[in-house]
């Protein structure tokens, strides 16, 4: 049988009923990687022997009628910025290409305890800096719907691995749209959580005031199951507040209240392609039919968000990247200079790719004497104005509905020569990242060229259950999310 659009929920039922075994399911995913990855390049590392060994353990638990829960025996891919003990973790950078962490990230430990099976570490833009996976030191990930186009980024490998049938779900990171945009480009469901909802201990940092960790999967319900396992306070991550957790999968299935859904006009501007506009507007009508009210509104500072983000996030990147000096991390230069300063210069010159150098320089510039007030401090103030926009909006509405991206997946190479154009690709996901609020990306249709289109829903901090509920009900009424990419057929 075909497993290529199998959800985690259905797989768990089949595993529990003994219709399939975790070993078959894992072997199927590994075969699918062998079949599709030479074309797609979603994986940096394939975890074959360990995955099969763990599947055998899960099979025993199912046989004894004692599975650990819904994720037991479920094959997942993991973005290659999460530390898994004794598995190479590269951040898609030459500077970490031989890094083998001796410990598990908190969320990896939680997934292991739940019985999940890791089949691959997936491709990303270098240190997650990008919107297309083109800045990876391990080559671009291609979109399973059209291999001439990008899979999106930075969690492009995670989204493409699900869309290629290589796994049933994945973990990604989202700093300015890096889960939501690749999910939209690959017809996958992706959740960006509230800042602080999920521990980042053991996950390689990009921009520390913005980075979040979240699930990608084939349905909102599956994202709820994954979130249930990974969310929560962690003594090892001082940015995780002790906000009570919800029973996300149960909440998601509750009857849909008559939510008021805001439609912010700034997200439907000229840059939006006609097909995206039509698909997102018809998705809004689906919610209207389910009893929700659509309320047009304005988030006036939206147009400043990309500027704020591309000051604050490179500033934080430049600081976080200082540890990659060839001594604390990184292999060091090939030829050892006499002088220590020269050692650092050479290690970083050889280790970082173009985009990392650009971002480190933008950040260093924004933080340097003479420019700090005009750029960094100014951006911190405008960030406050963007947060206030959302606070005002959520006084009147329960959620916001927008496109994820102004356009579908673009051609490989189309934007990589013009960094500013690449930065503008995240126009519609960046504002909510600055506000630290959650967002979900849901498949909502296709272009005439069969490229997926994504719908974004946003809600106030720590209300992920509302997004998952809206997503669950939307996916009960529609079937876009279960449509398979051509490569899987």
């Amino acid at each position: 049988m075909s497993y290529t659009n199998l959800t985690i929920s259905t797989a768990h039922q089949m595993l529990s009923a003994g219709k399939i075994s975790p070993i078959d399911l894992t072997k199927h995913c590994l075969e699918q990687i062998e079949k599709t990855d030479p074309t797609i390049n979603a994986c940096i590392t394939v975890i074959k022997e360990q995955a099969i060994a763990h599947a055998e353990d899960a099979a025993k638990r199912y046989k004894n009628g004692e599975p650990r829960g819904i994720l037991d025996g479920i094959p997942l891919s993991i973005k290659d910025v999460f530390c898994i003990r004794n598995i190479r973790t590269t951040a898609a950078s030459h500077i970490l290409e031989n890094f083998v962490p001796p410990y598990d990230a908190t969320v990896i430990g939680k997934l292991k305890n739940a019985g999940a099976i890791f089949v691959s570490k997936t491709n990303t833009d270098e240190f997650t800096c990008g919107a297309s996976t083109e800045t990876s030191a391990f080559g671009v990930t291609k979109n399973p719907w059209n291999t001439e186009t990008v899979a999106g980024g930075s969690s492009g490998g995670s989204a493409a691995s699900i869309a290629s049938g290589q796994c049933l779900g994945s973990l990604g990171t989202d700093t300015g749209g890096s889960i939501r945009q690749p999910a939209a480009f690959c017809n996958v469901t992706g959740l960006k959580v509230t800042y602080g909802r999920v521990s980042r201990y053991g996950v390689i940092s990009m921009a520390s005031s913005l980075d979040t960790i979240g699930p990608l999967a084939r349905s909102a319900e599956d994202c709820a199951h994954l979130l249930e396992i990974i969310a929560g306070f962690d003594p090892n991550d001082s940015t995780t507040p002790q906000v009570p957790l919800k029973d996300y999968s149960m909440e998601a299935k509750k009857a849909l209240p008559k939510y008021r859904i805001g439609i912010p006009q700034e997200y439907f501007g000229d840059a939006l392609t006609e097909e995206t506009k039509i698909a997102v507007e018809s998705a809004a009508k689906v919610f209207e039919k389910m009893g929700c009210t659509l309320i047009p509104l304005s988030l006036p500072h939206t147009k400043y968000a990309v500027s704020v983000y591309y000051i604050l996030s490179p500033s934080e990147v430049s600081s976080n990247m200082s540890r990659y000096d060839g001594i604390r991390f990184g292999p060091g230069p090939k030829k050892i200079p006499d002088d220590l300063q020269e050692y650092f210069f050479a290690a970083r010159e050889e280790g970082f790719g173009d985009e990392m150098k650009r971002r480190i320089m933008i950040g260093t510039y924004a933080l340097s004497a003479g420019y700090y007030d005009a750029y960094y401090k100014k951006a911190q103030k405008v960030r406050t104005l963007i947060i206030r926009d959302f606070e005002e909006a959520f006084k009147n509405v329960d959620a916001l509905l927008t496109p994820v991206s102004p356009y579908p997946a673009f051609k490989i190479g189309d934007k990589s020569q013009d960094p500013l154009q690449m930065y503008l690709a995240d126009t519609l996901t960046i504002p909510s990242s600055l506000a630290g609020i959650p967002g979900i990306s849901l498949p909502c249709g296709f272009t005439s060229e069969h490229l997926p289109i994504g719908l974004q829903l946003l809600s106030p901090a720590f209300t992920e259950e509302r997004l998952l509920q809206l997503g669950f009900h939307y996916q009960t009424a529609t079937h876009h999310h279960l449509t398979c990419a051509p490569i899987t057929i």
Partner: protein
Amino acid sequence: MSISLEEVRHVARLARLKLTADEEARFAPQLANIIDYLGMLQELNTDNVPTTSQVTGLTNVTRADIISCAPRQDELLACSPLPKEDHQLLVPSVFS
């Protein structure tokens, strides 16, 4: 508010990046283009607006100072490609 080639060299030095002539020629106009775009923030009056540096509202988060033994010292040392001596890493000398 654009950035000159001189400034690109200065910033690269501050960031401990040694750019090749080819990289300088490529990055200078790209960075100028980006920094010009970022300049749009200047049109907003933010005189009485407080800054936001984080969104959790958490301050002074502490935990008990309990020593954990994971990962072990030898496991941590094994992560580094640098030569080892007496359970320590050998790094290049600071003073020549």
